[in-house]
Structures are given as C-alpha cells and as structure tokens.
C-alpha cells in the first residue's frame, strides 16, 4: 500500500508540503499560541503609572488573598466535577439502551432524537429552563394545580437550577461518545460473561465499563471543559449570586477594564482545565489524540 501510494501523493514534493503547512502554522501561532503567550505576559504585569508596566505576581497573589476569588474558583471546579459525574450517570443507561437494546431504524431514530436539542442554541435551551423553573413558570403552576403548594414557588436562581441547566446542556457530549464505544462491544462478550456466572453488577463493572472507557473519558473531558467554561447557564439560571468563575473573568475584562487581573484569572482557569484533562487521561491511560478524535 505505502509503496504504491508513494508514487502518487505521499511525496508530492517539498513545495506541496510547504503550501499546506504554512496556513496551519499561521493559524496555530496567530490564533492559539501567541494570544496565550500574551495572556501569560499580561497576567504577570502591574500598572505602575499611566501606560507603564512592571513585572509582578500581584494579580496571582490577589487571587489567593481575596476569599471571594478563590472560593468562586473552587466552587466552579467542584460544581463542574459534580455536573460531569451526574451527566455520566444519567447518560450511561440511555447510551447503553441505544447501543445495545434497540436495532435498525428505531435505534437511528433514538440517536437522532438525542442530537436534535443540540442543534438549537444553548441560549434557547436555557431560556426553556427559565420558563419551566421561574415563579410564574410551568413547574410552579403544575405544583399549585396539583394542590401540593398554595403559592407560586421560585425554582430559578439557585444551585440546583444551575446544575439542571449544566447537565442538560452537556448531555449530547456524553451520549455520543458513549454510544459510539458501546456499539463496538460485541454482544457475545456480555453473553459469555453471563454464561460464566457473572452477576449484572460484575458484567457491567468488569466487561461493559472497561470497554466503554475511551468513550467515558472523552465524554467526561469535554463535558467538564464545557461546564467549567460555561457563562450563559450559570448567569441566567443562577442569577446574581451564581458565582461562576467565568463571570469573574468577564467582570475584570469588560466591567472593570482590569485586563491584568482578568488575564491572571484566565490563566488559572486554563491551568485547572488542562490539569483535569491531563489527570483524566493519565488515570484512564488514554492518549489525548485518541480521545479527541
């Protein structure tokens, strides 16, 4: 194979390679690498006079000395981990159902049905949850109609509402990789495990989950990343006290125009998300390239 293709495109010359690689390098350096280098540089400086800056760690020390900042940071991290775990728990049985329990057209239909909500903007989905949860909303109205409560209940603007919205928004990114990996699991392996006397729990734990690991890891990484970086859902469903770290970044950059502090916050969030991605890959012994593609 390689000998034959060697005749055609594999060695279409140094020029072809150069022509193809330069746009890639330009894109990566101008839009990904240099902006982040700049982010680091700005986060490490301090304004000493008008338009004059000096090297300083002060933006990072401010983060550790101001409890609001690091508490918001930790809260965002913990809630993102929780949201990821919940998404996995809710999505796994559904993914298994689609991958193994149904066949043919019905299976394709269920799979597409999972995708549909995510063709629609996150803003619209969050808006839907606002209509459901608000004081004059559907759930409140339903509870009153059932006679379980006698006055409107406000279900918006609390942590549970944020969590519901985050899990909802993340669902697709968990279901799709899970279905894809679970489909690759041969039914006969599950049958063999039962024939050998495995209980439901043992079969799931020793056969199904190890097989689905690449899907679990890639789903969790993407969901965690999206949750951590989410701005819309916490702001709209959590209201003023949602305390999400991306809001701190937004406030520093846009409201207070303190780009130095905002850059430091951005770096901290980036370090946290990279660390979690790295830890997830290490724990599950997966490679970044394989998980992401």
């Amino acid at each position: 194979m390689s000998a034959v293709t060697g005749l055609s495109f594999r060695d279409s010359g140094k020029l072809g390679l150069l022509l193809l690689i330069s746009p890639l390098l330009l894109w990566l350096s101008l839009f990904i690498l240099l902006p982040h280098v700049d982010l680091v540089m700005i986060s490490l400086r301090e304004r000493v006079a008008a338009r004059e800056y000096a090297f300083s760690w002060s933006n990072y020390t401010a983060f550790f000395t101001e409890p609001l900042y690091w508490r918001t940071f930790m809260r965002t991290a913990v809630m993102s981990i929780l949201a990821t775990a919940l998404t996995l728990l809710i999505a796994f049985p559904v993914a298994f159902y689609i991958a193994k329990m149904v066949r043919g057209r019905f299976k394709a239909l269920l799979f597409v049905l999972c995708l549909i909500p995510f063709w629609v903007s996150e803003l619209v989905r969050t808006y839907g949850w606002m209509i459901l949860l608000r004081e004059t909303g559907i759930f409140s109205g339903l509870l009153q109609w059932l006679g379980w409560v006698d006055q409107p209940v406000e279900m918006l603007y609390n942590d549970v509402a944020i969590m519901v919205g985050l899990v909802y928004t993340s669902m697709l990114f968990m279901v799709v990789p899970l279905v894809t990996t679970l489909e690759g699991l041969d039914d006969s392996l599950i049958e063999a495990a039962y024939d050998l006397g495995g209980s439901h729990f043992r079969v799931i734990w020793d056969v199904v989950i190890p097989h689905a690991m690449p899907g679990i890891v890639s789903g969790c990484i993407v969901v965690f990343m999206l949750t951590l970086g989410n701005y819309l859902t916490p702001t709209l469903l959590g209201g003023k006290d949602s305390l999400w770290f991306t809001e701190q970044i937004y406030t520093q950059f846009i409201t207070r125009f303190n780009w130095e502090q905002g850059s430091a916050f951005g770096m901290l969030l980036l370090i946290l998300s990279s660390f979690i991605v790295w830890a997830g890959l290490k724990l599950s012994r997966q490679s970044f390239t394989r998980v992401m593609t």
């Binding site: 594999r10 629609v120 808006y127 459901l132």
Partner: protein
Amino acid sequence: MIPSIPSSRYFRGIYATYVVLFFVYLILPLAVVAVFSFNDSLFPSLPWNGGTLDWFLGESEPRLGIFHDDELLGSIGVSFWVALGVTLLSLSLATCNAFLFERHDFAGKGFLYMLMLTPLVIPGVILGVSILIFSSSIANGLEDNYGLEIEWLRPGLPLVILGQFAFITTIATLVISARLRRFDHSLEEAALNLGASRLAVVRTITLPYLRPAIIGAGIVTFLMSFENFNTTLMLVGSDAPLTIAMFDRLREGSTPVLNAVSVLLMVGSAILGLISLFVQKPRDE
C-alpha cells in the same frame, strides 16, 4: 441487560420508562419555548391566555412581533454574515489541514496534530479574551510606533469572526479528515496514470469525493458560529449578533418575541440538520 440475556419484565419495564423519561427531559425545554411563543400574554409565563400570532406578526409595541422587530432582525443579519465568514475561512483551512495530515509525513506531525486539537480543550471565554488582548497588543503597538489606527483589531465583528474561526476550524478539520482517510487511493493513481496533472486529479476526483464532508462540515461550522456565545461575548463591539442581542433582552426580561425568535432558530437548525444528514448519507459506499 441485552435482548439475548433473559431479564425480568419488571426490569425491562423500568429501563424503558427511564429512557422515555430521559427523552421527555430532552424535549421539554424546547417544547415550552415553542408553545409559549403563541401565548397571548406580555410575558413568557403562565397563565395561558389563548393563542396568538402577535409575537411573530405584531406590528407595534408592546406587541412587537419578530418580523417587525428591526433590532432582532438586524442581529440575525449580523449573525448570518459572521457565520458565513467563519464558514468560508474554516472550510478552506480545514481542507488544507486534512490533506496535510492525511497525505503527508513530516517531522513533528504528531505534535502539530495535537496542537491542532487543543482548541477543543480551551474554554471559549479564555480563547476570546486571549485573542482580545493579543489583537489589542498588536493594535496598540502599531499605533504607538507607526501612528497606524487599525479598526478591525479592536472589538467588533472582524474580531468575532477570527475568534470563532480559531476553534471551529478544528472541528471542520476532524470532519473532513475522517472522510479523506477512507478515500481509495487507486482512483487517484488511475487518473495520474492516464496523464492527469496532480492539480487536475485533486479538482476532478478528490474534491468531488470530499464534497459531502465539506458540505456537512460547512453546516456544522455555520451553526456553531451562529450559536456561539462565549467567544463572541468577549470580542463583540457595537453590532450585536443574535445570541448577544437575545442574552441582553433575556436579562432585562422580555416579551415572548424571544420565543418567536427561538422557534425560527429551531426551524432553521432543523432544516440545516436534515440537509446535513441527507448529504452525508453515503450513497457511494
């Protein structure tokens, strides 16, 4: 567990119910948004006052429908042009990337491939601010040293397009690469043997083969750009794309005109989604 393993009816019933509930949960928020766009009330909430088409067709305040709401219509236009720009840029670069990674071997390929994937794990807000400060640094540098005032390096639509392009390209690259990987090389070789030039081969054989993937990637790119919020929020200037305009209205509290916009968005996305499913349905494999 699986159909070939006997399990109690009780278990199967519970399992099926769970899956049904899951789908109800998926559809519920979208359904209420759609239903309340027809509610004859100034607020998108209960009580239900009967149906109306005012939120689509209403001509004056306070019942200004989407088809007469110039601000929202304008923002739809802005989003459209931004998405078109992002789509064209991303598809061009993604096609190059796909050829590069699928057809060439070179030193550092694995590393570059990994780098190409990193935008997937950079939170959108951070990508937005890093591009914001980098472009401002360049603009400030040019202004201080050469007295050049370059408007498009300041927050505004060109920067929004570039910011979205920065990460959407990765997704387009993955879609197009996946199809190029399955390409049968003998078709190209036959054409080469018959005396076609390399460029002619790419144009008449490889690109037509890639067309479904390019169209599919184009639709995904367009939608991702149209619906992007995080990166756009950081780079937006005075012209607001639809998501930003809707977000501002949502925070102020708005009439059900937002539900009407949402319905239009759903219909638009559904049509594009169906087209992409149809186009990518493999007829030749």
